[in-house]
């Protein structure tokens, strides 16, 4: 009996490049098993799709259990575990994939295999998952199924005969997708009578229920009333409710081995849980947690300041609310001479930073300035003490530094062979070393390099995509701290140091940075009534300079009865524009300038 239950479970994920139709396929599958009526489908599903489409990427994953009556006459529970889609969230992706036995690899019939498809494929292969290629959008006039099949063989190294053809939009081939899941993805395995071991792959905050933990049960079972323990942080909670994710949560008597569902147990905030942690029973714990746990630690740091200092409390409130649903965001109070009171924040990566920035502005209605992102440096001082610095403001006195260390990563880049020259050039410019190459599939190279993290947090991924025309995929893991020759680059605007623009850079690249930042600021700072000198300085020494020329003349000739209101309205409009500016001394610096200094001028 027990065996038969597990035989009818399939846990899978859909991986795809952005816009290849992942959400549409998921929605169509939900509709196919009649979980919603057609009318509800339109009312409910399309809304979530809009949000996803607008963001372009899945930020918070959605999980759903589908009950599918297969052609063999049996009913199956198919658990679709959704994954976020960016390198910053690769750890979350890996935990979601660890909860599956197979994946659908979705490829757009007209666009073919894209870079991200590859990165996702390798992630799935790492977990030994069964991979089912699905060619979507076959209804498009531009669809080229044979070309895509060829790519699946050549570039992905998969058997294209197994590929399923479908059009999620038109509802074609959906049944074939279901049958393939049932036939090809193995059922879960596990010890039903063993100690509870459930993997947390997601958590979200609900204002009424607290934190709702998404998990996959590997061994044992859990039911309401059980006292559970999070093995990593040793916290214990009493289970209030367990259940499946249908469109709404569906409470169950228990979550059993092989199943995917949720646990509600009075966990207050999302930050009290860790994705990748193992849940076990407090009274009868598993001997060891499930493998692969990593604390998702922030690697990129930046300060957030309100544009007007009056908004500091409102920003504090917004960050606290934000944190309820985003365990990976860290923040603490910070202050700057130029920008006043604010918060120093830690992010998983630059995309995470951008998402937080955008959501704070759009959903929480905050007008903010973010400073130049930084990594966390370590310094051994002459007195033998050690300090960690993630904010250039607290860079130690250069005289007192005995050893400076910066974080390094192992970067993995997968590219079609023809781009190897361009990619190596880019990496070497970014202080990469020790390149290793392998050939996972014909025509493709995987390059592994050691790189300073600081060199990839700004725009490395964008540059990589540019030089590989979108075909480069990039992933990284932090490896170690290494000794490095670091200096602090200060920026002076009309002789005044703008602390929020200071950055820590490698000595060899300091002049390059100095020139770039001065040139950037020259473009970003509007002309004033006086000349503005922008200087880059290391220690007391000026290493770069640019000048914003002054207005010569802006006066209009006439101002009589009919001109006054019109002119005043124009002034009022310009005055509003000034709200997006920050006064530094007598210079107005636009909000955008603080992050724009990092954009390189390369083509």
């Amino acid at each position: 009996m027990k065996l038969r239950r597990m035989q009818r479970i399939r846990n899978f994920s859909i991986i795809a490049h952005i816009d290849h139709g992942k959400s549409t396929l998921a929605d169509r599958m939900i509709q196919h098993v009649h979980m919603v009526t057609d009318r509800e489908f339109r009312d409910q599903m399309l809304d979530t799709m809009d949000i996803e489409r607008e963001r372009g990427i899945t930020i918070k994953s959605q999980t759903v259990s589908l009950r599918y009556p297969a052609r063999d006459g049996k009913e199956y529970d198919l658990n679709l575990i959704d994954t976020p889609g960016h390198v910053d969230f690769s750890y979350e992706v890996s935990r979601a994939l660890a909860s599956c036995e197979g994946v659908l690899l979705l490829v757009d019939a007209s666009q073919g295999v894209q870079a991200q498809t590859l990165a996702n494929l390798y992630a799935a292969m790492e977990h030994d998952l069964v991979i089912i290629p699905v060619i979507n959008k076959i209804d498009l006039p531009s669809a080229d199924v044979d070309m895509v099949k060829e790519q699946i063989e050549m570039e992905l190294g998969l058997d294209s005969d197994d590929a399923i053809l479908c059009s999620a939009k038109e509802g074609l081939g959906i049944e074939d997708v279901f049958e393939a899941i049932v036939a090809k993805i193995p059922p879960p395995r596990g010890d039903e009578s063993g100690e509870l071991a459930a993997l947390i792959f997601d958590a979200r905050y609900d204002p009424y229920r607290g934190t709702i933990v998404s998990c996959r049960v590997f061994d044992g079972s859990v039911k309401p009333g059980d006292v559970i323990r999070f093995m990593h942080n040793q916290a214990t909670y009493k289970v209030e409710e367990v259940g499946f994710f249908r469109l709404q949560r569906e409470p169950r008597k228990a979550l059993k081995t092989g199943e995917v569902g949720y646990i509600i147990s009075g966990v207050k905030t999302v930050s009290d849980t860790r994705v990748g942690d193992t849940i076990t029973l407090d009274g009868k714990p598993a001997s060891a947690p499930l493998p692969g746990f990593k604390e998702a630690k922030p690697v990129v740091f930046s300060s957030i300041y309100p544009i007007t200092s009056d908004d500091y409390l409102s920003l504090a409130d917004a960050l606290a609310k934000f944190k309820l649903n985003d365990a990976s965001l860290e923040f603490q109070k910070d202050s700057s001479v130029a920008l006043g009171q604010g918060f120093r924040c830690g992010f998983l990566g630059l995309l995470h930073l951008e998402i937080v920035q955008e959501r704070l502005e759009r959903e929480y209605d905050q007008s903010i300035i973010m400073t130049v992102p930084s990594v966390q440096y370590r310094f051994v001082l002459t007195d033998g003490s050690e300090v960690e610095v993630d904010n250039p403001q607290y860079y130690p006195d250069q005289q007192k530094i005995k050893t400076a260390l910066e974080p390094f990563i192992k970067a993995s880049i997968i590219i079609p062979e023809r781009y190897i020259g361009a990619v190596m050039k880019l990496c070497m410019e970014r202080r990469a070393s020790n390149p290793r190459m392998s050939y996972p599939t014909p025509g493709r190279i995987e390059v592994t390099l050691d790189m300073p993290l600081a060199e990839v947090i700004y725009d490395f991924y964008d540059r990589l995509k540019t030089v590989t025309q979108g075909y480069g995929s990039f992933d990284y893991e932090l490896t170690q701290y290494r000794e490095s020759d670091l200096v602090k680059l200060d920026i002076l605007v009309n002789g005044e140091k703008v602390d929020a623009l200071s950055m820590v850079v490698h000595k060899e690249r300091s002049r390059e940075w100095g020139v770039q930042v001065c040139d950037r600021l020259k473009e970003e700072i509007p002309r004033h009534q006086f000349k503005i000198a922008i200087q880059g300085a290391i220690g007391g020494k000026i290493i770069s300079r640019s000048t914003v020329s002054a207005f010569r003349k802006d006066v209009t000739a006439k101002c009589y009865g009919g001109d006054i209101s019109r002119k005043r309205k124009l002034l009022e409009k310009q005055k509003k524009g000034k709200l997006r500016m920050k006064m530094v001394g007598s210079v107005e610096i636009p909000q955008s300038a603080f992050v724009a200094v990092l954009r390189t001028n390369e083509e």
């Binding site: 009534q529 209009t556 002119k567 002034l571």
Partner: protein
């Protein structure tokens, strides 16, 4: 009896006729100013209001002009009749005006009889101070000895002549009706007719114009020893024929630096010749010869504007008439005011305008007022340091270089 009801006007309106209208005094707006004295708007002495009359007719349209006028002259009589109704509406609301400005359009194209009718209308509805400044804008080719005599007899005591340039090729580019010779003849005639307050309008910064070409026109104008000069840099407005040319990239105007040189040279040259550069584009031979009427615009002194497209300002409120002779007449025929829009200025708006006017005029801004605000105080000090303004007699006065930046300096002062 004229029922004067305009739905959009908060301060206007009456139920049965204009005699019953309580016009502004006692309105919420005037009470507000009586109580709140944080921002002294008006000249302390309560300078008398000015009257502007817009004559919306031209024989030809100039391609740079964005003032309202039409070239069909058939409606002049209608316009005078309608203006009479408009004037009657406001007749009880103003004390004696001490300026009257007939602008346009082209007031000089009116026949002596039409102008006499207009003056009758105005003198019937309003009273004027004994030494009121009465200005009439004239086109050089309208000026004849007969007309001048008629104008003087009506009380006109200040002539503003739209010469624009003394160089034939520039006059043609500007598509003016007159010739260089005609302009010279007109100014001579005015001198002979005994007008002792002459203002000459000139335009500079034309495409391809050199500084010495401009100075040539300026020097020629000085031959006539005008009491007042208005020197406008050519401004291309959207919706004008020049605006269209510019959009198509066919108008090659001097760049910012060249414009600055024209402006500074003009200012230095005329001040050396004894003129007072008292507003961005205006120069007077002495304090007494400053345009009293135009100065009211820049001091938030009340003024009433009659005619299509005219603007009025009264006790912190501004309104403007429809810019069409036809609609202007139609409104007044129906017993309605021809008002197209209005605004009651907030204190912030008044401040912004005061700063704007302040940076455009040698009158400048009241320093104690500015220094009541720490931000404005430090800005004022900074402007002084950078040579854009100086302090004199308790006021912050823009320098010549400050004048050049008059459009952006107000924004520095406000937060």
């Amino acid at each position: 009896m004229l029922a004067v009801i305009h739905p959009s006007l908060c301060g206007f309106g009456g139920k049965d006729g204009y005699e019953s209208i309580t016009f502004f005094p006692g309105s919420p707006l005037s009470r507000k100013f009586a109580q709140k004295k944080t921002f002294p708007l008006k000249e302390p002495a309560g300078e008398p209001a000015g009257l502007y009359v817009h004559v919306p007719f031209c024989r030809t349209r100039c391609p740079y002009c964005d003032f309202y006028s039409q070239t069909s002259l058939e409606r002049i009589q209608d316009w005078i009749r309608s203006l009479q109704r408009e004037a009657e509406h406001y007749s009880n609301s103003f004390q004696a005006f001490d300026t009257l400005y007939l602008g346009g359009g082209t007031p000089s194209l009116l026949s002596p009889q039409q102008l006499a009718d207009l003056f009758t209308v105005l003198r019937t509805a309003f009273s004027f101070a004994p030494f009121a400044e009465i200005t009439l804008e004239a086109n050089p080719d309208d000026i004849t000895r007969e007309k001048l005599t008629a104008w003087r007899d009506l009380g006109v005591n200040r002539m503003s002549v739209g010469v624009q340039s003394f160089r034939q090729e520039e006059i043609e580019f500007l598509q003016r009706r007159h010739t260089a010779q005609g302009a010279i003849r007109a100014l001579e005639t005015i001198g002979a007719a005994g007008f002792d307050n002459l203002s000459v309008d000139l335009i500079y910064g034309l495409p391809g114009q050199t500084l010495s070409q401009w100075l040539l026109s300026l020097k020629l104008a000085l031959q006539f020893r005008p009491e007042h000069l208005s020197c406008y840099q050519l401004t291309v407005e959207e919706g004008t024929p020049f605006g269209g040319l510019r959009e198509r990239g066919m108008l090659n105007l001097p760049d910012e630096d060249a414009q600055g040189r024209f402006f500074l040279t003009t200012s230095r040259f005329l001040e050396k010749e004894g003129y007072l550069h008292y507003e961005i584009s205006n120069f007077a031979r002495s304090e007494a010869l400053i345009s009293r009427h135009n100065s009211k615009y820049w001091k938030h002194v009340d003024y009433l504007g009659l005619g299509p497209g005219a603007h009025s300002f009264f006790q912190g409120k501004r309104w403007w008439n429809v810019g069409s002779v036809q609609r202007y007449c139609a409104f007044l025929n129906e017993g309605k005011l021809p008002v197209e829009g209005e605004e009651c200025l907030t204190e912030d708006q008044l401040l912004l305008e005061t700063l704007y006017f302040g940076f455009r005029t040698k009158r400048g801004m009241d320093l104690p007022l500015l220094e009541g605000d720490p931000h404005m105080k430090s800005c004022a000090a900074e402007l002084e340091k950078s040579g854009l303004a100086l302090r004199r007699d308790g006021r912050l006065i823009p320098t010549r270089r400050g004048f050049l930046l008059a459009d952006s300096l107000p924004l520095r002062m406000v937060r």
